[in-house]
């Protein structure tokens, strides 16, 4: 009987039921969209942290670049002799230019500190390759053809490849981990000329597992492809020892990744590392997140502060409207409820009837709201502008200040890579992908039922509070 009465009533008042359901749907849809956007911003931030920091890392240790650090950056050209005129040349320089280096012994010392669970080292390098032809200048002065020069010779081309030497012994800490591999496998040998290539670089160079790639004149076998985090500019990952040997930076690293045994140990470990090397820059994930500026940071602030409160306000408004409409509907049915009371229906049964009608409207609103939420999230993903994350912009690395550190500039100074001229900053471009989370879906269902319950409760309570005689006297 309850079900028949319920469906007939909703059908009779379908316009109002539609308004109530749509009101709740808009509220729930907005909450889902905003939470999806917040989650998307969160994921983008994680990507930034991942790109700059490494997976599962609690602290990174690096060093500020100083003059001459990072290895040689000159190409070693001697003035060309007349006999070289018109001949092709190719030179590679593999260096950690623009970055300070740490001794690998520091990593070993950190590994021994209490509260440290894992340590991994990395050496970030840039391979700059210059190719071209010596000029055939009749004056006899050496020089390169600068492109489109006399005699129709080929121009000089400069290519840069970002190469990172990684700790092969630790496949779950560092700039990439075994779980990031999308094809092939992780590096297995510390000495083999194997490489893991980023998917974007592999696409650009038409590489796949088993292909060969040349870095600084050395051929590497591609053993795997890695789906590198958005914004990361690393093209190849090779064994750390091999990278050190190729760049003549034996025993040096640019990054030490540290995972604490427990989150509460992070600050203690940070202090201990500062004692080991006072000139090191130690950065925690919290520092890193605070240092991220740009539109990503703005989007995060907007989504968490304004977006969330706005959606909560809309939800409250939707609940309010649903409640008011339910009360209005109940007011119009007072005589009906009076009749039911005269027939012996208990107040509880009448309230249950009203509430079940509201809950059905709430559930309908929830279903439509979830659809709106998915649609909204898709729209956010489609329409959201590319977010930028600027790291280390306002905070130059300060030696010996463990709580606030900058980020090592990557690729600064080389043509075609890096970004801003300021080597202390790094800009990442990210696309916001809004995903509706399972938790948010559960929240939507709870909100839908709660919305129905609240609306029905007000209406039902109103109906229940009337004495049957008073209800029957009521003029509709």
């Amino acid at each position: 009987m309850l079900f028949i009465y319920l469906t007939r009533e909703l059908r009779r008042r379908y316009r109002q039921a539609l308004v109530v359901s749509l009101g709740l749907a808009v509220g729930i849809g907005l909450v889902l969209t905003v939470t999806a956007a917040i989650s998307g911003v969160g994921q983008a931030q994680t990507q930034v942290l991942h790109a700059l920091y490494g997976v599962g890392t609690d602290l990174t240790v690096s060093k500020t670049a100083t003059a001459g650090s990072g290895g040689p950056t000159h190409f070693g050209f001697a003035p060309p002799s007349g006999s070289q005129a018109g001949k092709a040349f190719s030179r590679d320089v593999l260096s950690a230019a623009g970055q300070g280096t740490l001794s690998q012994k520091t990593a070993n010392s950190i590994r021994k500190l209490s509260g440290v669970a894992q340590v991994a080292s990395a050496l970030e390098l840039t391979d700059v390759n210059i190719q071209g032809h010596f000029s055939s200048n009749p004056s006899g002065r050496g020089g390169f053809v600068k492109g489109g020069g006399s005699g129709g010779a080929s121009p000089v081309s400069i290519n840069t490849t970002s190469v990172t030497g990684i700790d092969v012994s630790n496949s779950n800490l560092g700039p990439i981990t075994a779980s990031d591999i999308t094809s092939g496998h992780f590096l297995t040998s510390a000495t083999a000329a194997d490489a893991v290539v980023s998917t974007s670089y592999a696409k650009q160079q038409s590489l796949k597992a088993g292909s060969t790639v040349t870095v600084a004149g050395t051929s590497f076998t591609v053993v795997g492809l890695v789906d590198e985090p958005s914004g990361s500019s690393v093209d190849l990952f090779i064994p750390l020892g091999v990278a050190q040997k190729l760049s003549s930076l034996t025993g040096d690293v640019t990054q030490i990744y540290v995972r604490a045994a427990d989150a509460t140990e992070i600050s203690k470990v940070q202090s201990e590392i500062a004692k080991l090397d006072s000139s090191a820059t130690i950065t925690t994930s919290a520092d890193l997140a605070n240092e991220v500026t740009g539109s990503l940071s703005n989007a995060s602030t907007l989504a968490t502060k304004l977006g969330l409160w706005l959606s909560v306000a809309v939800l409250i408004a939707a609940f309010g409207i649903a409640s008011l409409l339910s009360i209005a509907a109940v007011s119009r049915r007072v005589r009906e409820f009076g009749t039911l009371k005269a027939l012996g229906w208990t107040t509880r049964r009448i309230v249950a009837q009203v509430m079940s009608e509201s809950i059905v409207q709430g559930i309908a609103g929830g279903i439509v709201g979830i659809a709106i939420g998915f649609g909204g999230a898709a729209l956010v993903t489609r329409l959201a502008p590319t977010l930028t994350a600027i790291t280390g912009a306002s905070n130059a690395p300060t030696a010996g200040t463990p709580s606030r550190g900058g980020f090592p500039g990557r690729g600064g100074g080389f043509p075609g890579r890096g970004g801003p001229a300021d080597p202390g900053t790094h800009t990442l471009y990210l696309h916001l992908i809004a995903h509706v989370q399972t938790e948010a879906l559960i929240l939507a269902v709870v909100l839908a039922i709660a919305g129905g319950l609240i609306a029905g409760m007000f209406g039902g309570w109103r109906a229940a509070s009337l004495r049957p005689a008073a209800a029957l006297r009521r003029v509709e």
């Binding site: 009465y5 009906e336 027939l343 012996g344 049957p468």
Partner: protein, 255 residues
Amino acid sequence: MYELSKVGKRFSSKVIALRDVDLSIGAGEFLAVQGSTGGGKTTLLQLLGALDRPTSGTLTFDGRDLGRLREGQLTRLRGSSFGFIFQTFNLLPTLTALENVETALVPLRVRGSERRERSLQALVEVGLEERINHLPSELSGGQQQRVAIARALVKYPRVILADEPTGNLDEDTRDEIIDLLETLWRDRGLTCILVTHDSAIARRAQRTVWISHGRLSARRERRRRGSKPAPTDDAEVPREQELEQELEQERTSGD
């Protein structure tokens, strides 16, 4: 069955619906309550049907003081013992005739198939077997009132309380409905209390009491010729002829 002693009902300091009503109604009696609009007829009926409580005096039904029963007890009493018939029929507009009748059996926890069977039987009894699946909006006023009567009877109540049951009907339909009520009352041995301002209807009752300005007019109580006396009756019985004259005067003056 009913004993009313100094029963009063006050809605506010200015609105007093009933004052010191003394009345006895016997089991199986057909009583008409007549009076002017706003005189307190409906209020009296609502008190008798446990839809409201008196603010003074005592009202007992089968020895139970309705003014002292808890709300749940009153609800159970309404569900099991009283059948209401309203002037405006008060059918649920979204339910069919059969479903409307079924609503009266919901509080009695009668199961689905039995509920439908009994409701169907009640509708057959009031001559509406052809209209069981019709919505109230698809029925005439007389048919709607028949559904309401079926709804009141389906639970086998002890008392039928009808508030102006023919007030919204034309003369022919009015006669059909009152014939039906009288037949059911006689066949089932029910107690029937009927509020009306229509003297022609009131005349069909065994006994008529008048209520005016919240007071029961003992002087104007009337008994139908040949009817049995009420089990307890403190009121003075005026002469039949005198009462008829008074009723005629009221009719000509527009009630």
